[in-house]
Symmetry: D2
Subunit: 119 residues, 4 copies
């Protein structure tokens, strides 16, 4: 599991100074929960690897489907947390700033929610 | 990525003689597409690792949500293929056999579909 | 609510002798639960009318969304019951008959499930 | 269809002066699209009545399921429009006002989205 630990460690990447992104250096709403997000995603990655094991061991179809539902639920739950932080920070900031940016932000967020609903 | 290749190789596990499972040695419906399923799942695993990279690099929330929707869709699509094979083999076999097993099989499949719908 | 009772009564339509349909007179799987289905659908119709009342009375958006979720859940639940009966009768019958019809039936059912999942 | 027209007309109810609601007379975000919302909901009500007709006429299960999917999609689409207006007005207003109300509003909206996802 070397790759994954390296990816998740953030040692060489994520939190280094200078990597701040998007619109002049502001970090996104989810930045503060970054570690929690990475932990969640590694858990989901483990679930997907578990699914490969189940298929490989010829486990009963229905039991595999139950595990697929659990993984999908975990992904949806991750998406909801990300969305909540996005609304609380990016969307709320646009509202405070005034102007028309709030309209674009709300439309963008609604489209993202529509994509989640349609999957 | 050593771990994953090892897991997916099936060298020591899946297809060896004697590992046949469930109800007296019959393999499940999805057995014939096993390689395709493992390939799909490895691709989904790659998507989840890609999500970790996006979070780690502070990519914009909405772009991450788009990628989450793609992963969820891929999982649903995997579930649907598994379900189709289950209906074509396990459920149809129960119908041919006669008796009351078909009722149990149909109820079980419907519950699995309900779980997929509710995620 | 005169209209609805008239529609649901089936006096002039549904259960009259001779109206049996599809493939030489065989009725579908859900036929036996017809009354229950119609009752469920009338309840959902009532929920949709309730939604109109909420919008008309300027009820708080979130409370309306809660009611929309309840209606969607009721529709999904109706779909699942219909699907279960379809699997138990139409799909199982095709399996018993033998031949290639089972493949077409399973593919058709899977596509219907996919449509339910994607909404 | 007398009932529905009477319900939807708003003659005796919705837009009369003095019926404004919630927090000291402010109307909700969706108020401005009220007529459009009612039109959409009446169309969905018509779809549900169409479903009753299909069941009553013993139409093939799969064709009924297709129609259920269409109704669910229409409900989801209505929910998304309501949600967009809620974010643009109620949530954005809370952000502008400052204080902690924005947190409560965002949490509430996220929970509503979660309910939509889980149906």
């Amino acid at each position: 599991m070397t790759t994954i630990e390296a990816e998740g460690s953030g040692a060489e990447t994520g939190t280094a100074p200078g990597t701040l992104t998007h619109e002049g250096g502001a970090v996104h709403g989810y930045h503060h929960q970054k570690d929690e997000h990475l932990k969640r995603l590694r858990r989901i990655e483990g679930q997907i690897r578990g699914l490969q094991r189940l298929v490989d061991e010829d486990v009963y179809c229905i039991d595999i489907l139950t595990q697929v539902s659990a993984s999908t639920k975990a992904l949806q739950s991750f998406a909801l947390q990300l969305l909540e932080e996005h609304l609380r920070h990016c969307v709320a900031d646009a509202a405070v700033k005034g102007g028309t940016e709030i309209d674009a932000k709300v439309e963008e967020a609604t489209k993202a929610i529509a994509r989640l609903l349609r999957t």
